[in-house]
């Protein structure tokens, strides 16, 4: 009955072209994993920092999983969105990161990317906003056929996760 607690927060994001950002997040785990309690997806508020580049969210994450196997260790996928002065939201980046498998506190940095459209798309994006998005956001963590995709790197999302393992040693998983 191995258990995994993921407790932490999405601290914020930095390095994006604009800094009024919010973030949609979710945790994806394999079939062997079962969520006991906690919300496995959510969305942060929009942070509009007046000074500095970094948008701070401090969005809490508290999950309790149990598992019958190690496959499909939970991973966190993120979508960073930008809300402009008209209140329109626009995708700024996808990113995904594995939840650390070693217990303890971890400070993580998740780099993000964004699909790059054709030049028409980019031109339209420059003037009227919007932009290409993934048709199926599963691609963030599935990664099949991604070589066809043209992307551009965006900023970094900072996370702080504390991982607590329980009874993994009963099944020969040393932590």
């Amino acid at each position: 009955m191995a258990e995994l607690h993921i407790i932490g927060q999405i601290i914020g994001a930095t390095g994006f072209p604009q800094n009024s950002l919010f973030c949609k997040w979710g945790v994806h785990a394999g079939g062997a994993w079962r969520l006991l309690s906690g919300l496995k997806e959510g969305q942060t508020q929009v942070d509009m920092p007046q000074t500095g580049d970094m948008a701070y969210w401090s969005h809490p994450i508290d999950l309790h999983y149990t598992t019958k196997g190690l496959q499909g260790w939970p991973r966190l996928y993120l979508q960073v969105w930008h809300q402009d002065s008209f209140g329109r939201c626009q995708l700024y980046g996808y990113g995904y990161i594995h939840v650390p498998s070693s217990p303890g506190q971890h400070r993580l940095q998740c780099v993000t990317w964004r699909p790059l459209g054709s030049w028409q798309d980019q031109l339209a994006e420059m003037f009227v906003g919007g932009g290409p998005q993934l048709r199926s956001p599963d691609l963030i963590y599935s990664g099949a056929d991604r070589y066809r995709l043209h992307t551009v790197g965006m900023g970094t999302v900072e996370l702080e996760l504390c991982v607590i393992l329980r009874h993994f040693d009963r099944y020969g998983v040393e932590s």
């Binding site: 009955m1 062997a32 006991l36 309690s37 007046q50 000074t51 149990t66 019958k68 496959q71």
Partner: protein, 1314 residues
């Protein structure tokens, strides 16, 4: 509009320079300048003066300050500082200054005279015939500038030549470049220098390190055993060597063939099959088919055998031929180079037997062929017969037609003939096969491929024992060749992954062109082996050349050093080598014949590792552990998913990944299971079929999931702790409020789930114990289910937050509010009129048991029933009985206030006190006197939420009620002994229930406070009490007596601390109403709320399906039950009252309790009557509909009051304006109170000797039994502690149409009369 970050940054970091202040001064200066111009004086003088003036002033100031500073201690910073204007010099002034200091050479040409010494004419050397180099080209302007500048310098003229020009060297630039141009043609480029474009490639080697190399134990070793080298051709071969090599090759072939002995095997097979065939009984279809198969097989095998035999013979022949050639060559050249010698052994055979066998064989074959031919013939014959038959029938037809035609239409004869089509060819009968021919053919073939019968068997034997002619006896050319051979040496380089790792010692080439190395290289490897190469080098003297390169396959991981067989590798090189001695060279045509015909070209070739020469294998460690890497590297990866395939990996057939195909092929090709060469495949197949290696047809996403699972799903399901955690997070009602889940499995007992499982199991079973009939039980269940589904809906909807849910922000006070507050400050303070202050609201999250208290402030009561004069005389009781006979028709005049003085012990009219009970805690006020008492007491009751959950949902669904009961405290003197009366007081206190108020907790919670005067629900009849208005009697001046309108109680109830009530859901519900109607109603609602912001305005309500419905759709005339209409055929007023009473009897179920924190759900009248439960809207709507159908003008008024406080329908919140405007309750009550009368009479008659202490009827609409019991319980009748008290109870249920029941409970407590 917020500034951007950049703007903000700029704002805060900006250096605000002081504004330049010289503006006015400059103006001044300008004006002065103008003055100066006017005056015609020089400017500079003025300026200087001005400056001096300024300086002077400044000095003066400074001096003055210094004087003061010496004595003043308190100095401010300004004393040390001086604000100066920024220095600025005007543009024109600056130009002027610059003009003074700077020199700008002119661009105009300098006159020649100034360049030369005076009185010297320019002298041109060119004109004098001297050679003057061409001057470098310089731009004329630049030249002028330079000249002008130089002339200004001291000794400037020395730079000029005699001709007045600047001295210059001739232009140094060559006319043509000295370097050859770099263009060239592509073809001319040295091929070695040509570049080839290659695409960017990813390096493959990065990932190919063997896994687990970090582990020091895992070292892998590859042993390369290069044992030797034999050349099958070498440039230094003499002709004899060539032949000898060929001979050796053929002999090798012969040996291997003999070893396999295919001919023998096939012959045996043929005979055996023949025997088998004859054994089979030719009866059934199966066996016949079998026989046919056998025949086929035998024929096939015989053919194979014939081919093999022919090959054997040809080989033998060629061996003999080559040997003959060799001998001829030796004779011709008169020396021998090779020690080969061929012996041919003859083996005698028994002629008789041999002939016999031969004959037998031929006969068997012939007979077989005959049979085959016969079969063929038969088949052909049958075919012929069929064709012939067809032909015949065609003929017949034609004849018939001809006849017909001739009779009828002769002229169309030809055409009809054509219609019949072409005449089929007449089939030829097949020839009978010639049996004699067959035998001849067979014999001929046998003679060709078979040794003649009786001929001895020839067995060649090659030996190397022959003498080689020593060097001295050889001719020159041969000698030179031998010398050359002796000079040659060979060595082998071992390359691993294209890197040289080691090389053998160089060995000299022997005469027989064999090199023995016998060296073993142990390669400790880190990288995954990709290629192992052996390079053969030949060295002559110090130079060495690459002869050949051999790629050695990387061995299977199962091949280990001890067990590895030596393998031979062939190589060849295409080098052209020619010699001028006997060596035949390589890649050069040569001939054996003296005349140069029959030329041959041979390339250097040979076998490396042949004849036990090279072997590559994985080493075995000291503890017999193979030092081979796991085979799951590149190629082996495909097996990892299929555990079953391990059998194959053991065998070592790595390339076979499609076992099905292999099996199919094996079945099709009829592999001989006994053939040793097939042994491995057969074994593999047996393993395959036995182990069932069928590749699974399905595709599994996570292949190794099962293998790696910690535990099974069932175990996970069984875990109680996880189940509890999951149920809690799913907010299942039973577990929603679990605070702590134990961390150990054993601390959770199975019992936790019992209730939950029971509920799941018994979801469909209806428990009729609690309910009178099945219908009500069904309705209750249905209601439960609706409640659950609605709650689930709203639990989801509740997660939709708006800003005010998340951010609590104090409202910015408006001007008006501020003004009002200011005005309030000026208000006179009135300490005697205290006001309730607003308290701070507390969110419900961080609360625990005991934090919340219920404050009940009982202020005062009005019109509490007063005691009837207590008398034991029967007439009194009779009088009282009479008084009940017409209690509502006329005021009871018989009871005079004077009777109050007749109370025993001089007790007052009444001594009421109030008892408040809530959640099993009961508290009471002190006792007051009189029918209009004033308590003004605060009662504090603790509150605990169910399961300790203080969330707003949970608090809203608290179904507890606050009972406020009014009792009369009666003192009885119980002193038995009259003598003691003087010094002892011994009384018994009894309390008599007078009435009660019920307030649900949810109301208090939602309203946050309840303040006002409420009507106490009193029973219609109170035994021993009269409900007279007694105000007048107390005052004594008001003679008017009227029947009491009821008892009232002033209350203030609140919760401490104040809790934030849960919000109702603002979710938009989908609606089936038309879009226009919805918009219009929205507009109306907005308008109305704009005009009357305090009044609620409803346009759409939510029906029981969660759909928004326009509110007037609920109101339609509805005929009341016929029984009610028939009750008073000619009294419309009575009928109306009866209908109202009927509606009031439908039980109440407040929405706020059933749909906690949700909203008002409106059910239709039909649903309402089916469910028999609803809150005030349903009652009001039903009554309104009934009244409408009765032809009365009825309106539904929706207002706000303390919701659902009393159990009277249509109380304060919804007023039904009926025509009469009378209370609706009276008629029905009259009817039913007759029952009370009879009950009382019964009591009286039964216990005529007893005195009733108290007694009253309770009237309730029926919903469940439990509330009735509770109501009885709350009256506290049972608490009477008088000795020999007796109780009387009667229940009367009055039925109304549609399952509506009116329940009367009559209770009396009696004490036997003394």
């Amino acid at each position: 509009d917020l500034p951007t970050a950049e703007e903000a940054y700029n704002f805060f970091t900006f250096n605000f320079d002081p504004e330049p202040q010289q503006q006015p001064r400059r103006k001044k200066r300008h004006s002065r300048r103008r003055e100066a111009e006017e005056e015609g004086e020089g400017e500079s003088g003025e300026e200087d003066e001005e400056k001096e003036e300024e300086e002077g002033e400044e000095e003066g100031e400074l001096e003055g300050e210094d004087d003061e500073d010496l004595f003043i201690i308190d100095q401010s910073a300004q004393d040390f500082l001086e604000v100066k204007r920024a220095e600025y010099i005007g543009y024109s002034r600056r130009l002027q200054r610059e003009r003074e200091t700077l020199f700008v050479p002119s661009m105009r040409p300098v006159p020649a005279s100034s360049k030369l010494p005076e009185n010297v004419r320019p002298r041109y050397l060119e004109e004098e015939g001297l050679y003057v180099g061409e001057r470098p080209p310089v731009c004329l302007t630049n030249q002028n500038i330079l000249e002008n500048r130089i002339l200004k310098q001291a000794e400037g003229r020395k730079w000029f030549g005699d001709d007045g020009c600047i001295i210059a060297l001739p232009d140094p630039i060559n006319e043509s470049s000295s370097r050859p141009p770099l263009f060239h043609l592509e073809d001319e480029l040295d091929p070695a220098l040509q570049a080839v474009y290659r695409k960017a490639l990813k390096t493959k080697h990065v990932n190919l390190y063997i896994t687990g190399m970090g582990d020091p134990q895992a070292d892998y070793q590859l042993d390369v055993d290069a044992s030797g080298l034999i050349f099958s051709h070498h440039p230094l071969f003499s002709r004899e060597h060539v032949l000898a090599a060929r001979l050796a090759q053929l002999y090798d072939q012969h040996l291997t063939r003999q070893h396999k002995n295919l001919t023998r095997l096939l012959t045996d097979k043929v005979t055996q099959k023949c025997a088998n065939k004859t054994k089979l009984p030719a009866l059934s279809q199966v066996t016949q088919q079998r026989i046919a198969e056998y025949k086929q097989e035998v024929r096939h095998t015989r053919q194979l055998r014939d081919v093999e035999q022919e090959k054997d013979r040809a080989l033998l022949k060629s061996i003999i031929r080559v040997w003959k050639e060799l001998k001829a060559l030796r004779d011709f050249q008169r020396f021998t180079n090779t020690p080969f010698k061929l012996f041919i052994r003859r083996e005698k055979v028994d002629r008789e037997q041999d002939e016999q066998e031969f004959e037998n064989d031929i006969i068997a074959e012939v007979s077989e062929l005959e049979a085959e031919a016969e079969e063929d013939y038969q088949r052909k014959m049958s075919e012929y017969r069929r064709q012939h038959e067809e032909w015949k029938s065609w003929k017949r037809k034609q004849k018939k037609q001809k006849k017909k035609r001739q009779q009828e239409e002769e002229e169309e004869d030809e055409e009809s003939e054509e219609e019949l089509g072409e005449e089929p060819e007449k089939p030829e009968p097949p020839e009978k096969p010639d049996m004699g021919d067959l035998e001849e053919q067979v014999r001929e073939k046998a003679a060709r491929i078979h040794r003649k019968p009786g001929e001895p068997v020839l067995i060649p034997e090659l030996t190397v024992s022959g003498p080689v002619t020593p060097n001295e006896q050889c001719p020159r050319a041969e000698f030179a060749r031998r010398e050359d051979v002796a000079k040659r040496a060979l060595f082998i380089k071992v390359l691993y992954n294209d890197k040289e790792v080691s090389r053998t010692d160089s060995r000299t080439l022997n005469m027989d062109f064999r090199v023995h190395f016998g060296q073993i290289f142990n390669l400790k490897i880190v990288n995954w082996p990709e290629s192992i190469k052996l390079q053969v080098f030949e060295s002559v003297g110090s130079s060495s050349s690459l002869l050949a390169e051999v790629c050695v396959p990387v061995p299977e991981s199962s091949i280990l050093t001890g067990s590895a067989p030596f393998e031979e590798m062939e190589f060849s090189s295409n080098q052209r080598v020619t010699f001028n001695h006997e060596g035949v060279g390589s890649g050069v045509p040569f001939s054996f014949e003296a005349d140069g015909t029959n030329t041959q070209t041979l390339l250097t070739s040979g076998k490396l590792s042949w004849k036990l020469s090279c072997c590559v294998s994985w080493a075995v460690g000291e503890d017999d552990v193979p030092l081979a890497p796991p085979s799951s590297q590149p190629g082996g990866g495909m097996y990892s998913g299929l555990r079953q395939m391990d059998a194959i990996a053991c065998i070592g057939a790595s390339g076979l990944n499609d076992m099905k195909k292999l099996g199919k092929w094996a079945a099709e090709s009829r592999l001989d299971p006994n053939d040793p060469s097939n042994a491995s495949i057969m074994q593999l197949l047996s393993v395959v079929s036995g182990g069932d290696v069928a590749v699974p047809e399905y595709f599994r996403l996570e292949q190794l999931q099962e293998e790696f699972n910690f535990l099974t799903d069932e175990e996970l399901h069984r875990c109680r702790r996880f189940r509890l955690l999951r149920l809690r997070s799913q907010e299942v009602p039973e577990f929603r409020h679990f605070k702590c889940v134990p961390s150990m499995e054993r601390e959770i007992s199975e019992k936790v789930f019992q209730d939950y499982e029971k509920r799941l199991k018994e979801g469909e079973i209806i428990d009729t114990k609690e309910h009178i009939d099945a219908h009500r039980a069904l309705v209750a269940k249905y209601l439960q289910r609706v409640r659950e589904s609605v709650i689930n809906r709203f639990l989801i909807a509740k997660h939709h937050f708006i800003l005010s849910d998340v951010v609590s922000e104090d409202e910015v006070p408006s001007i008006g509010l501020l003004g009002w507050n200011l005005f309030k400050l000026a208000e006179p303070k009135r300490p005697l009129k205290p006001r309730r202050k607003e308290r701070k609201k507390v969110t419900a999250q961080n609360l625990s048991d005991g934090d919340i208290k219920l404050l009940v402030n009982i202020i005062r009561g009005y019109d509490i029933p007063i005691r009837r004069p207590y008398a034991s005389k029967p007439p009194v009781s009779a009088k009282s009985g009479r008084s009940f006979a017409e209690p509502f028709t006329a005021p009871v005049s018989s009871h005079t206030p004077q009777q109050g003085s007749e109370w025993p012990f001089g007790q007052p009219l009444i001594r009421p006190f109030v008892e408040v009970s809530f959640q099993r805690s009961v508290l009471q006020t002190s006792t007051a006197d009189g029918p209009n008492p004033c308590w003004n007491e605060e009662i504090v009751l603790p509150f605990s939420a169910p399961n300790g959950d203080y969330s707003s949902t949970s608090l809203q669904s608290v179904r507890d009620e606050v009972f406020i009961n009014i009792f009369d405290e009666v003192l009885y003197d119980v002193v038995e002994d009259e003598r003691e009366r003087g010094n002892t007081i011994h009384t018994r206190i009894e309390r008599h229930w007078l009435g009660s108020i019920k307030i649900p907790f949810s109301t208090i919670y939602l309203q946050s406070r309840i303040d006002g005067t409420f009507k106490v629900s009193t029973p219609p009849v109170l035994l021993g009490y009269s409900k007279e208005r007694s105000l007048g009697s107390e005052g004594g001046y008001d003679a008017v007596r009227s029947r009491s309108e009821g008892t009232f109680l002033s209350l203030f109830i609140t919760i401490e601390p104040q809790l934030v009530p849960g919000d109702t859901i603002r979710e938009k519900f989908d609606s089936q109403e038309g879009e226009r109607l919805l918009i219009a109603s929205e507009v109306f609602e907005k308008e109305a709320s704009g005009r009357f912001p305090d009044r609620p305005c409803l346009t759409t309500v939510i029906d029981i399906n969660g759909k928004a419905v326009f509110v007037t759709r609920f109101i339609r005339p509805l005929t009341p039950p016929q029984e009610l209409l028939d009750a008073f055929p000619n009294g419309p007023q009575e009928t109306a009252e009866l209908v109202a009473r009927y509606v009031s009897l439908v039980p109440f179920l407040p929405d706020s309790v059933s749909f906690a924190g949700v909203c008002d759900l409106w059910s239709t009248c039909d649903q309402f009557l089916t469910l028999l439960a609803g809150d005030e809207e349903e009652h009001a709507v039903l009554l309104c509909n009934y009244f409408l159908s009765m032809g009365k003008g009825a309106w539904l008024i929706i207002g706000v009051a303390i919701p659902e406080v009393s159990d009277k329908p249509l109380s304060q919140s919804h007023i039904n304006k009926t025509e009469g405007g009378k209370s609706q309750i009276s008629v029905g009550e009259i009817m039913e109170t007759h029952q009370w009368k009879s009950f009382e009479m019964d009591v009286k008659t039964l216990y005529f000797c007893m005195e009733p202490i108290s007694g009253f009827p309770l009237h309730l609409p029926f919903s469940e039994i439990r509330p009735i019991i509770e109501a009885v319980h709350s009256t506290g009748v049972h608490k009477v502690e008088a000795p020999n008290v007796e109780f009387a109870l009667a229940v009367y249920v009055h039925p109304y149409p549609g399952n509506v029941l009116s329940v009367w409970v009559y209770i009396a407590s009696l004490v036997s009369a003394r």
